[in-house]
Symmetry: C2
Subunit: 446 residues, 2 copies
């Protein structure tokens, strides 16, 4: 089926190497201010949700653009939706996709918190919305996200105090790298580094915009430090903002497409949390000439460039979460090609990426095509596999000089499955299962 790959031959010939994860700190680096989208202000503070006063736990983002802001979001499909998820869905609906702000707290998920939790999430939204001049008929146009302990209510008075117009947060809102970095730090729970990226994006016809984003998640999450009733869970949060002008409908379509190929193409244990949320804002501040919002049909070319650029950008953000996988010693791209539909390719890639047998083999640097094959064959598909045409191979990923430093400590490899049934493909990113993963997730006191 596949000959012994080069990297495996280079692997230790003694017994199982049992690597430990190396530092990922190098994955956070300064970004020039001019790569950040215009018309947004952000900030992060310590409000008191987390015990350690030197750790940030509350962040806000506000669009100050004079043009209408469009917003889109993607939420967990878990039947247990945390209060912030319920509220954000409602705000998006009430504003018909015209939300202008976001408030995020870490340290407490505000999940399984009943009526009190809902009231608290609404209060956070309204308090943040009050920092901008009223512009819509709905009571609030701010989305909410939370991450942390399940089953405990928020210390809402501390949060509301920190959201007052004269408190430190509102007084120190700014644009640029430092402001975005502070916000990114406030998102962190068990992340070992703040996850922040920004870049310019060409839309064609001389139009340029900028896009920046924060996400959080660490493959598998530390149990919370807060007490015996605390229950840890792995949450994936993302906040992306651009100064392109895009209609709400086109923005949602682009986000759904991008999420499918990025945040929904990474393995975080295969467990979907109660809080997963990704929000995207587009405020048109890049276009001083006031050109119209990009519409999916009318501006097809620009829309496709935007959607594809967004997808690539979100893939980079999502991969940071995988690289921060606790105890992970490998960053693995699972690439399924030659499928008859994108859906089939995605399902197979997902199955391989969440297989305990595959992931422990990766930790042991075992080129175990049999396990990949068994995982592949166990997925019910729209068009059945032809077992005689499936090929599995292991590939060291291309590392060019420019990116070499960036991915230095993560050992990158690719598992490629060729189905030879059609021309659709999908990629998934995952990490290995190591001793540290068991230790961290078994030890509720760690």
């Amino acid at each position: 089926m596949s000959s012994t790959p080069a990297w495996k031959r280079l692997a230790s010939t003694s017994t199982f190497t049992a690597k430990t994860a190396s530092s990922k700190a190098h994955l956070h680096k300064p970004i020039p201010d001019d790569l950040f989208p215009r018309g947004y202000v952000l900030g992060g503070v310590h409000s008191g949700v987390k015990k350690n006063a030197s750790v940030l736990d509350l962040a806000i983002l506000l669009s100050t653009s004079s043009r209408p802001t469009a917003a889109a979001a993607s939420f967990t499909r878990n039947a247990f939706q945390a209060a912030p998820v319920v509220v954000s869905k409602d705000v998006l609906k009430q504003t018909a996709g015209r939300a202008r702000g976001l408030v995020v707290n870490s340290g407490c998920a505000n999940a399984v918190t009943g009526r009190q939790g809902l009231a608290d999430a609404w209060a956070m939204s309204r308090a943040t919305a009050a920092l901008l001049p009223r512009s819509s008929s709905s009571e609030t146009d701010t989305l909410v996200m939370s991450t942390g302990v399940i089953g405990q209510t928020l210390p809402i008075s501390k949060i509301l105090a920190a959201l007052q117009p004269r408190a430190a947060l509102a007084q120190t809102l700014a644009s640029g790298f430092s402001a975005w970095e502070a916000a990114a730090q406030a998102f962190m729970t068990t992340d070992t580094f703040p996850k922040l990226r920004a870049r310019a994006l060409e839309l064609g016809g001389g139009r340029t915009c900028r896009i920046a984003g924060i996400d959080k998640g660490a493959g598998m999450i530390h149990p919370d430090m807060a007490g015996p009733a605390a229950a840890p869970h792995a949450t994936l949060l993302g906040c992306i903002a651009t100064d392109a002008a895009v209609t709400p409908a086109a923005l949602q379509t682009a986000l759904d497409y991008a999420v499918r190929r990025s945040f929904n193409a990474i393995s975080v244990d295969g467990d979907m949390s109660t809080n997963d949320t990704v929000v995207l804002f587009a405020n048109g501040a890049a276009d001083a000439g006031g050109g119209g919002e990009i519409d999916e049909t009318r501006d097809r070319a620009a829309f496709v460039r935007f959607r594809d650029g967004l997808t690539e950008f979100m893939q980079e953000l999502a991969q940071l979460v995988v690289r921060d996988g606790e105890g992970a010693t490998k960053f693995v791209t699972v690439s399924v090609e030659g499928a008859s539909s994108y859906e089939d390719a995605h399902k197979i890639a997902s199955k391989i990426s969440t297989s305990a047998l595959v992931k422990t083999a990766l930790y042991g640097e075992d080129a175990n095509w049999g396990r990949v094959l068994a995982a592949t064959g166990s997925v019910p598909l729209s068009a059945p596999l032809d077992p005689t045409r499936v090929n599995v191979s292991f590939v060291p990923t291309d590392v060019d000089e420019v990116r070499a430093k960036e991915i230095l400590s993560a050992e990158d490899l690719e598992v490629r499955v060729e189905l030879d049934l059609g021309s659709e493909g999908a990629k998934y990113w995952t990490c290995d299962f190591s001793y540290e993963y068991v230790r961290i997730n078994g030890d509720y006191r760690s």
Copy 2:
């Protein structure tokens, strides 16, 4: 949601205990000969598939009943079906459910072996069928199973030599415990003990029958020792025989029902292998008076007793596989109750049982209801959950004096999820994720 359970309070208050698995040898014990079904002969030998000459690797079972034998089987749904699976399906079809024998080898799965593999599986079937007087018009009426390395062909000449009428195996076929035990040993690959059970079963109206069964599987399987191209996979095999008289159709119905609630209700990493097979024979040898075969409709009461007795018996066999889970320190019953359908309950139980976050928490003895909840809520159901009515609890399972010795070394506990939506329920059995699991499955040289 749930108070701290008793067993958790008893758990060590120091750091993470990191238990290691204890011996499961006590789970294999002698069984009185008269509990085994009449009219079957079995044997097990070393044929040469495995390197170690003192280890058995080939077994056969033949029905010598003067009455017609009915057979039923359940096969893997993996798209990659091993040669023995393809052949067994065909034999069952050709004989219209009247197969009379089984041949099993361990040490080589005869999977991904192309035309040669198919030819070899047919040859094994025919050679074994030749040991019985011809009775059907089809070329062979023997089913085939294999387990072991994927991607290597069988040493077929050695196997065929061992199946000759004058070779040791055919000459030493017998009934009773010793014969069944030898066969069970020939099934083993990474199992730490042979898995064999037998019992009597009351069918009502004064009718009694006996049922015996062998299965194999060890939660997670050792990589094979045979060489660099070898690829390990986890296979579940089962062979059950009864001397009740049952029609082929009723037998298949009963088996499907029982498999769903036993072999398909255990977690073996969540990965379905290329070789999974369970076969069931019923030869009517219990009924010397020659009463008719039990039919699902005509003999409803007897059929239900048979089906339910078979289910309970197969659950005991399946649980042995979980108890032998490599590195497992816990035997966990996941019980989902109050669902609107059996299907929904089964899906949720399955999701919880295959969750890495839940299983590492169990290893760390962390009563982590949050993770169980998140797993529960992530399953798409026919009738949506009401989050406010779901309850998660942890229960030490009842241990009575009689069974205390038997389950002494496995620490038993139950995770119970009450949905309060209906009255259907399902049970699943699984084990925890420990360091040993990672070591064994990461280390392809172990």
